[in-house]
């Protein structure tokens, strides 16, 4: 159209290309560097105290496997918290998705026993788990973004409702017939000799989540909405639609996590996920993602998932009472949020 617009759109002259920001600068600004050093220090300390027990392949494998399901939940939670939202329902949605997936596989198997089910039945179970998780995410998103009910309340509601629904479906009794083919491959199988398949899947989800958040327009809009939703709206971003999609995403990931949990435990573990939501939130916040939105990274979340996991393993190996773990995690968590507050206040004063 006219000059002002065109000068942005046409090809520029050379020589004005500023150097890219160094990666370490970005890490430092998001507290990720510090929390990463904490994780490294923990590994070094435990490794130095009991190298023969801590620095083993078996420890590494179990550490990674036990963190996999939480990591998938936490990747979704990272997106939600960057929009300045919260999702308390992920653990219950995980259970619900596992239950509907397992029930589907049983229903498709002769005699209602899915133990010997084939891959077609397993695939159907996966799809139903994802749909179940996605449905809760969609409901959360619509109530939060469209009906404008606070995320804390909406997801507190679905936290209770999804678990209740799972218990209604099963009469409160865990589904125990999980296909062996699934449990032996995704649940306890390994690839390349040493890498557990469950971990591979979690890594794939994490890498994809990181790429979407850092490099795509979807990720950029996620940050923008968390930073200043009104500015995003005025800039023409479809804020309502985007928020619905973010909660849908976290629901889908909770559904996938439910299926992974099913494969790993060979049962639905209905009562075992009541604190998954808090663990996921703690991991995200530990990793430098701000509860006030606009700031955070998947890399930080990975570190945040492993700090509690490493502490647990280390305490077990050192024969420290396991009850110290939550105390230690809480101290680090509160410190991380405090640093974030101080940083924000220092910035906003200028």
């Amino acid at each position: 159209m006219t000059t002002a617009k065109q000068s942005v759109v046409d090809t520029p002259e050379e020589g004005d290309d500023p150097s890219r920001p160094a990666a370490w600068q970005r890490l430092r600004s998001a507290n990720t560097l510090w929390i990463g050093l904490v994780l490294l220090a923990l590994c070094v300390v435990f490794g130095a105290l009991r190298p023969e027990a801590f620095l083993t392949l078996f420890t590494a494998q179990t550490l990674l496997i036990e963190a996999s399901v939480l990591l998938v939940l936490a990747v979704g939670m990272t997106f939600v918290i960057i929009t300045a939202g919260i999702d308390l329902s992920v653990g219950s949605v995980l259970v619900f998705a596992g239950v509907v997936g397992a029930k589907t596989m049983e229903a498709l198997s002769p005699g209602g026993d899915a133990t010997d089910a084939g891959w077609g039945v397993i695939a159907a179970g996966l799809v139903v788990s994802l749909l179940g998780g996605g449905a809760w995410g969609l409901v959360n998103g619509l109530l939060i973004a469209r009906a404008r009910i606070p995320a804390l309340i909406v997801t507190l509601g679905s936290f209770g409702a999804a678990l209740g629904a799972a218990q209604l479906i099963t009469d409160g009794v865990d589904v125990r017939t999980v296909p062996s083919a699934l449990a032996n491959t995704l649940g306890s199988g390994t690839s390349l000799g040493v890498v557990p398949n469950l971990v591979l899947l979690a890594v794939a989800v994490t890498v994809l989540g990181d790429l979407v958040l850092r490099t795509t327009r979807f990720g950029r809009h996620t940050y923008a909405i968390g930073s200043n939703a009104e500015a995003a709206r005025r800039a023409g971003i479809a804020v309502t639609r985007h928020l619905v999609l973010v909660y849908l995403l976290v629901g889908l990931l909770a559904g996938l996590a439910g299926f992974m949990s099913l494969a790993y435990f060979r049962t639905t573990t209905i009562s075992g996920h009541s604190t998954d939501n808090l663990n996921a939130i703690a991991a995200v916040v530990l990793g430098g993602t701000s509860l006030f939105g606009g700031l955070g990274s998947v890399l930080g979340t990975v570190i945040g998932v492993f700090i509690p996991a490493v502490l647990t393993k280390g305490f077990v190996i050192l024969h420290v009472q396991a009850f110290w773990q939550p105390i230690a995690v809480s101290v680090v968590l509160v410190a991380a949020v405090w640093f974030d507050q101080v940083r924000r206040r220092a910035r906003n004063r200028s």
Partner: protein, 256 residues
């Protein structure tokens, strides 16, 4: 100047907020290549008028004419699609994003080819163009890599102004763009306004600072109690005349 037809015009707009009548048949005109100041006391209806003209709100009655044809904006996106941009008084920027990301907010450039179709951003290109645009508009920033929240208030304001100006191809509304700025920063924003005007864009300046209005505007339109009460050529107008029109001491019969 009055010979050229207006680029954007409001004709007898009315707007109610509950029982409050914010606009009572307000008219307004902006021409391409001129800075027109919209002045009035608090509650005169300036914000309501700008909101109607920039698509944020729809008037209850009256007509908006753009480029000779009546238009209806149902959202700011409609107005933006026609090259009408707004600089908001309350700095609508995302403080956690860097200046380039803010400049391209909602208009992100994507990489060519498959990656772009997957939504992958072309960050290097956006940085490069942003740096060039900031240089062109005289916006001086210590770094284009820091979040905007870490910049000074004046620098943040400059980025907000630059963002609208860069994308405005026809009309740009500026609601108190120099409020809370230091002397040097204020001068820089006024320079930007003149530069944009010289590119043939209509600049609508809302300001309470009368000397500033007379310094930068070509024309002034005065609102009082939801109606236009006076029009002036800035060159032969005094602050006293403007204040007189704003307070009701002076009215022009033909202005409404």
């Amino acid at each position: 100047m009055s010979g050229t037809p207006p680029l954007l015009a409001a004709r007898a707009l009315t707007k109610h907020y509950g029982t409050v009548e914010a606009l009572r048949g307000a008219s307004f005109e902006a021409r391409a290549g001129e800075v027109v100041a919209l002045v009035g006391d608090n509650g005169a209806g300036k914000s309501a008028l700008v909101k109607c003209l920039s698509g944020v709100e729809t008037p209850d009655a009256g007509e908006i004419v753009f480029d000779g044809a009546p238009v209806r904006f149902t959202s700011p996106t409609d107005a933006r699609a026609m090259g009408i941009e707004t600089v908001y008084q309350d700095l609508a920027v995302a403080p956690d994003l860097d200046p380039a990301a803010n400049l391209f907010l909602g208009r992100e450039l994507r990489k060519p080819g498959l990656l772009g179709r997957l939504g992958v951003l072309d960050k290097a290109e956006m940085r490069r163009r942003a740096t060039r645009e900031f240089a062109r508009l005289g916006v001086r920033l210590p770094s284009v890599d820091v979040p905007i929240g870490a910049l000074s208030g004046g620098q943040r304001q400059s980025v907000a102004v630059a963002r609208s100006v860069v994308w405005a191809s026809r009309v740009v509304f500026m609601d108190e763009p120099t409020a809370a700025l230091g002397v040097v920063q204020r001068q820089r924003v006024l320079d930007v306004i003149r530069r944009v005007r010289d590119e043939g864009i209509a600049v609508v300046l809302i300001s309470h600072n009368m000397p500033e209005v007379l310094a930068v505007a070509d024309r002034v339109e005065v609102l009082r109690l939801g109606q236009r009460v006076a029009r002036f050529q800035a060159a032969d107008t005094t602050v006293e005349q403007l204040v007189g029109a704003m307070t009701g001491a002076l009215t022009q019969e033909d202005a409404a």
